[in-house]
């Protein structure tokens, strides 16, 4: 580590040793394994007799390691990670917010963790009850009329939501032609509209970073299927004229789709259903603290108004005359099934645990804390980093690197330097409407003490940019590897490990190599 270059605070981080680790393939030697089987007590059958032509002649190179080797392999790798359980992620809920332990406890209860999708409905009433209660809670929080928990993740939710809009327009005799999307939108919005067969029309943001209602009014016509709007927007600004936006669309028979990515800034304060939204998705990881990014499957529930209810994916949950919950497949107008099974049921459990553990007042407070934390960072950093929009921030604040680029330092450099201070980088270069964006979302979970460490680090880096920009441009200095050649990695990707020509043969299946 270049300690001479590290002039920052050591309150947050100190260098310590981590062990080097090769790929499991490189550590492999033939015949090693982590188990020992009892002698075969049934007649041996040749695999080819069972599988015919499906038997692979060559199984390829697979790593062979003993139990302790594989345990150490993954444990060592895990010590290289930055994790939400180690410190703040300024990427915020987009990537991972804190996963409260009560969620994990509940989702591991035997009856929940061991439930099987093909268990009969009569034996799944508890699991269906979880689905029902979560649906009811989400409907109340969003102010909508109906919901499906089927979509596998946020973008899949968008796809489902726009399919509903399309089915709705089709039922009126005309699917319509285009979807309007503001230039500050998440990239998945235009991809969704295009996947559903709509032409995408780009709507430029106004000087406050919001929707220009007059410009929108000129664009909307009888060919407009919907506007896809993120509220608060990706620059963390609430659309104050959202009700007018809804009116402009509804006047022409178009629908208002809300990307619920930033719903964690609204929960308990205002409801999309009340400000004119017709259909929206939620990201359970963003708003309701489920794991994300390798930590667990996604979940993108879609809530809608009554007019779209008939088109919801089949089946929908219903309560029978016997008082039991069951899946209703008799949905003639449904857009169909968007996924086979609820493999992400564990996310429903976690989201529900979060909602119930917090309760209405607790949820309202998480919203207030998320907004307070973002504005605290804004207030503490706005004298050193450029604030491109003066509009009040909600749950995230977006700065730009305008003042730092004068010294040749860009947002990506500041982010990399932040690693030296013990923080995961913030979101760089997004939203695209802010050149050189630094998007910071602390989430509600961070304490003032952690926020102060972050603020100190960011202020220190701003000073370094003025006094010694080189240290920032060449950062990080404290990691096992510094800057990767991202360009070559993207242009000439190496996608798989290739075995060296010859490896040292090791005698197969000797007891010494087991365990």
């Amino acid at each position: 580590m270049a300690t001479d270059k590290f002039v920052g605070t050591t309150r947050k981080v100190t260098a310590h040793l981590t062990q080097n680790e090769n790929l499991s393939f490189e550590k492999s030697s033939p015949g090693k394994k982590g188990y020992k089987l009892a002698p075969l007590d049934v007649p041996e059958v040749e695999a080819s007799a069972l599988l015919d032509g499906a038997v692979r002649a060559d199984v390829g190179a697979l790593p062979e390691l003993s139990e302790i080797e594989i345990i150490r392999h993954f444990t060592r790798l895990s010590t290289w990670n930055y994790a939400i359980d180690l410190g703040m992620y300024p990427l915020g809920s987009c990537t991972m917010k804190y996963n409260p332990r009560v969620n994990e406890f509940v989702s591991r209860l035997e009856g929940i963790a061991e439930a099987h999708p093909y268990q009969p409905e009569s034996l799944s009433q508890g699991a269906l009850g979880v689905v029902k209660l979560l649906q009811d809670c989400l409907i109340e929080i969003t102010g909508m009329d109906a919901i499906t928990l089927q979509p596998a993740a946020g973008a899949h939710g968008e796809f489902t939501g726009i399919l509903l809009a399309r089915a709705y327009h089709q039922s009126k005799g005309n699917a319509r032609k285009h979807v309007i999307i503001p230039d500050s939108a998440h990239g998945t919005n235009p991809a969704t509209a295009a996947s559903c067969g709509y032409q995408v029309i780009n709507l430029k943001s106004n000087a406050q970073g919001g929707v220009d209602v007059a410009a929108l009014a000129q664009m909307v016509n009888e060919d407009t299927a919907a506007l896809m709007l993120t509220n608060p927007s990706t620059i963390g600004v609430f659309e104050n004229e959202i009700h007018k936006i809804a009116d402009v669309l509804h006047d022409k028979g178009a629908l208002l789709y809300m990307d619920g990515a930033n719903m964690n800034a609204l929960v308990g304060k205002t409801r999309p259903g009340d400000f004119g939204v017709d259909v929206m998705h939620l990201n359970l990881h963003k708003t309701f603290s489920t794991p994300h990014g390798g930590g667990g499957p996604g979940s993108g529930p879609v809530a809608c108004k009554k007019i779209l209810e008939p088109f919801l994916p089949s089946p929908v949950l219903a309560q029978g005359a016997d008082g039991l919950l069951h899946w209703n497949y008799d949905r003639p107008e449904s857009v169909g099934r968007v996924r086979m099974l609820y493999g992400n049921f564990g996310m429903f459990v976690r989201a529900l645990a979060y909602i119930l553990a917090n309760g209405p007042d607790g949820l309202r407070q998480t919203t207030e804390d998320a907004v307070l934390n973002a504005n605290y960072i804004r207030a503490k950093l706005q004298d050193v980093y450029e604030l491109p929009y003066n509009t009040p921030s909600m749950h995230e604040v977006v700065f730009s690197d305008k003042r730092q680029t004068k010294n040749g330092v860009k947002t990506g450099d500041i982010a990399k330097r932040l690693i030296d201070y013990g923080f995961h980088p913030y979101t760089t270069s997004f939203p695209l409407i802010v050149p050189g964006a630094l998007m910071i979302e602390p989430t509600e979970s961070e304490s003032r003490e952690e926020l102060d460490l972050f603020v100190d680090a960011m202020r220190q880096i701003a000073r370094e940019v003025d006094e010694n920009p080189e240290v920032v441009i060449t950062a990080p200095h404290s990691t096992r590897i510094s800057r990767l050649d991202e360009t070559t990695a993207a242009r000439k990707p190496v996608l798989r490990w290739k075995a060296p020509a010859a490896s040292t043969p090791v005698e197969v299946d000797t007891p010494a190599k087991e365990w």
Binding site: G187, Q199, E486, T487, A490, R491
Partner: protein, 129 residues
């Protein structure tokens, strides 16, 4: 880098050079500079129709994927295959590394495009923001 005066430009940062009834389209130096290292170009198929102001393809840089907007309406007659193996040409030779050639559907459309001077004024304004 100077913006060639014989080219016309869009506010979405494409250039077009017109010879007879065929327009050659690429992205500007300003565009490649804002995108950073370009790693992939998604060009349209030969024979496909493009529409003025509509998306005809995309470029992927290490930062983001960005749409390409056609300066004119017409039919794609040629695409620059070289960019498939060497997308970096868009960075190093922005004003000669072309992406597609289009047979113009309506030459009158060219009138609404920017001249080199207008485009330079436009990007000066963008940069000042």
């Amino acid at each position: 880098m100077a913006y060639p005066e014989k080219y016309k430009y869009t506010k979405e940062h494409e250039w077009i050079e017109v010879a007879g009834n065929v327009g050659t389209v690429g992205i500007t130096d300003y565009a490649q500079n804002s995108l950073g290292d370009i790693v992939f170009v998604d060009a349209p198929k030969i024979g496909s129709k493009v529409e003025k102001g509509a998306v005809f393809g995309s470029v992927e840089s290490v930062k983001a994927v960005s749409d390409l907007y056609s300066p004119v309406t017409g039919t794609v007659t040629e695409v620059n295959e070289e960019l498939h193996a060497s997308p970096e040409k868009l960075n190093t030779e922005a004003h000669s590394a072309w992406i597609m050639k289009v047979e113009l559907g309506d030459a009158a459309e060219l009138g609404s495009l920017l001249s080199a001077a207008d485009y330079e004024a436009f990007i000066a304004e963008e940069t000042a923001k």
